[in-house]
């Protein structure tokens, strides 16, 4: 399974990343450009996810939905049957908002792994990288030959992309993890801006949104703090491009950034649920 994933996702991604690097000569910019490329390629999937999610939210905010919840609150089996009937009538699939996420996961994880592989911070990792490079890559540009690619110039701005980042000031006994802080902040902003509002602040999806907006920034902050800063560059680029994508789809609510609780529906977006 790991080999198939490597063959179909990680190795091709690594080669595309190296090819971009061969043209631009800067690994940090290569990560950013590849992030944009991945985001553009997966944009239709993300748009479909947002569409499905919105339809689901609207359905769950409808009177009909609330009525059956109340009517069959003591009969789970009947409630499930009624929910399926409404899904069928409205043409909404409860899985349609999950499937795009499912498709995106391998891409995201593969991208992570390709960055780690391309940086090659130890002999063993470099051996893996050399084996991953397609023989025909240098036919595209001589800068993609093994001699030109290895070693990857991992310096970007003030950071070594193969090492965790931190700015050491002479008067402080520890390094300030600037990149990790930016990762935490951009993840928080992206999560708050892009989480779809819940039908009710007390329902499970609202609680889930709240958890997401708290834990995701902390989780990615932890990753950025401890692992190669190349990953942190990816996180930041991905967050910023994600915000732009949501903005382009008209799905951003800037008021949510400053709200502590679950994402709220703004007036402009609060549409009545479809009624049968």
């Amino acid at each position: 399974m790991g080999n198939i994933f490597d063959l179909l996702i990680v190795t091709p991604f690594t080669n595309v990343l190296l090819l971009i690097y061969a043209f631009v000569g800067n690994f940090g910019i290569s990560i950013i450009l590849f992030t944009i490329l991945i985001r553009l390629v997966t944009h239709p999937i993300m748009a479909q996810q947002i569409k499905s999610s919105t339809a689901m939210q609207e359905l769950m905010a409808s009177d009909e939905w609330h009525k059956i919840q109340e009517k069959y609150k003591n009969d789970k089996e009947k409630l499930a049957q009624e929910q399926m009937r409404i899904y069928s009538e409205k043409g909404v699939s409860p899985f349609s908002s999950c499937l795009p996420t499912l498709i995106q996961f391998p891409i995201l994880i593969g991208f992570y792994q390709s960055i780690v592989r391309a940086i090659g911070v130890s002999p063993l990792q470099l051996l893996g990288l050399v084996r991953s490079i397609y023989p025909g890559l240098e036919n595209i540009t001589h800068m993609a030959s093994l001699s030109a690619l290895i070693p990857i110039k991992s310096q970007f701005l003030w950071m070594n992309l193969g090492q965790p980042e931190g700015i050491q000031l002479s008067f402080l006994p520890f390094a300030i993890p600037v990149l990790a802080i930016i990762v935490g902040l951009t993840t928080y902003i992206q999560t708050k801006l892009t989480i779809q509002p819940a039908a009710s602040p007390n329902d499970q999806s609202a609680q889930m949104n709240k958890m997401m907006s708290l834990y995701m920034p902390l989780l990615l902050f932890y990753f950025a703090l401890n692992f190669a800063s190349g990953l942190a560059v990816y996180f930041i680029a991905s967050n910023l491009v994600g915000i732009v994508q949501y903005a382009a789809l008209g799905k951003i609510d800037f008021k949510n950034v400053f709200s502590i609780g679950p994402a709220k529906k703004s007036d402009s977006r609060a549409k009545p649920g479809k009624r049968s």
Binding site: P123, Q163, F223
Partner: protein
């Protein structure tokens, strides 16, 4: 309800996957192995072990609570990891740098007391390369691309030489007159004992291992598979030989031929190249990639492969014996300790194994 559960499932599934993806980032590589004939020093993950060559038993230190393993550090620390080849000085110090990003320090350990004598913290990035000792100085190739000459007694910097913008992965070597250091960005440097550059030579590709010194010649291989012989005093090229595959280890010689293995994707090839002319004397294919330097003894040549095989051949390339370690990968160069061949496998049930000169396993050390 269902949707939330599915979402939560994916979120929880993503965390270990992301962690697995990121987990490869900190430096980790094959173990480092050295011996003084009596003891073997094995740098593997969080410890540097001291193992008796005669029986494979870890050396212990007596304490009031009974004997404890005399490993460094005494207790594993998550901030430290060791993969470089350890070096032992005549005055009983062990030198090794930590490959961890959180504590990229270079340590001097007093082998009698098993305590840190001094620590050099200016190297900044993880240490992959070993060091060498000459006189009262230890020469250490650091992760920040600098070769440091440190006082043996105090760890103070005598001089430093910036060799590369990349990490130095190859241990410096010396012919007694000059110090040679190679870099991933294709350079070979020769320095005098005061750290002044005498010459440098740009080769065609990344250099992964230290040069072999054969009299007035240094021999070094590159990732393109080219084996270069350079005049040690001037850096002038004597010959170059093109081999099939990439060269990851240092060559070794019996005075007649230079022996080196290559990596051809998952397979390998082993070569004997004439020391004087660079002509290929013979070569043999091997199903396993060969990254490690071979071991040349008066009666046989031993090389190890990524497929977990220890192969002994004679000078004509004819097989003498072979031993296979189940599921193991062998990247670390084998070393000779008295009449035993020591190998440090990865992914095996043991960390260190000893084989006699006929290939029979004598003992294994598991680290437990």
């Amino acid at each position: 309800m269902k949707i939330n559960r599915i979402f939560l499932f994916f979120l929880l599934a993503a965390i270990p996957l992301f962690t697995a993806a990121c987990g490869a980032a900190p430096a980790s590589t094959w173990p480092g192995l050295a011996t003084d004939g009596k003891l073997a020093y094995l740098a593997s993950a969080q410890y540097v072990y001291k193992i008796s060559v005669s029986d494979g038993v870890e050396v212990t230190t007596p304490t009031v609570d009974g004997p404890v393993p005399a490993r460094f550090p005494l207790k594993a620390e998550s901030t430290k990891s060791f993969y470089a080849t350890p070096v032992i000085s005549p005055d009983g110090q062990l030198f090794i740098g930590s490959a961890a990003t959180s504590d990229a320090s270079f340590y001097s350990v007093d082998l009698k007391t098993n305590t840190v004598k001094w620590t050099f913290k200016d190297g900044k990035n993880p240490w992959v390369a070993g060091a060498f000792v000459s006189g009262d100085t230890v020469y250490a190739a650091a992760g920040d691309g600098i070769l440091y000459a440190l006082g043996l007694a105090d760890g103070q910097v005598r001089w430093q030489f910036k060799a590369s913008d990349h990490s130095l992965w190859s241990t410096p070597v010396s012919d007694g007159k000059l110090i040679f250091i190679v870099t991933l960005d294709h350079e070979v440097y020769a320095l005098d004992p005061k750290g002044n550059k005498v010459w440098s030579s740009a080769l065609d590709n990344a250099i992964m291992a230290p040069p072999y010194i054969a009299g007035d010649t240094i021999i070094v291989g590159t990732l393109s598979g080219k084996l270069f012989a350079l005049n040690a005093a001037s850096g002038n090229q004597k010959w170059v030989s093109s081999l099939d595959g990439s060269i990851w280890g240092s060559p070794a010689s019996d005075g007649e031929n230079v022996y080196i293995g290559t990596v051809k994707d998952k397979a390998g090839k082993f070569y004997a190249v004439n020391l004087q002319t660079g002509q290929i004397t013979w070569s043999k294919d091997d199903p396993g990639a060969i990254t490690a330097s071979p071991l040349v003894t008066p009666t046989q040549i031993i090389y190890v492969t990524e497929a977990g095989k220890i192969q002994s051949i004679d000078k004509s390339g004819s097989p003498k014996w072979q031993a296979v370690i189940e599921n193991a990968k062998l990247y670390t160069p084998p070393v000779l300790a008295n009449d035993l061949i020591l190998v440090a496998p990865m992914n095996a049930t043991f960390l260190l194994g000893a084989y006699d000169l006929n290939g029979a396993q004598k003992w294994t050390f598991t680290g437990k």
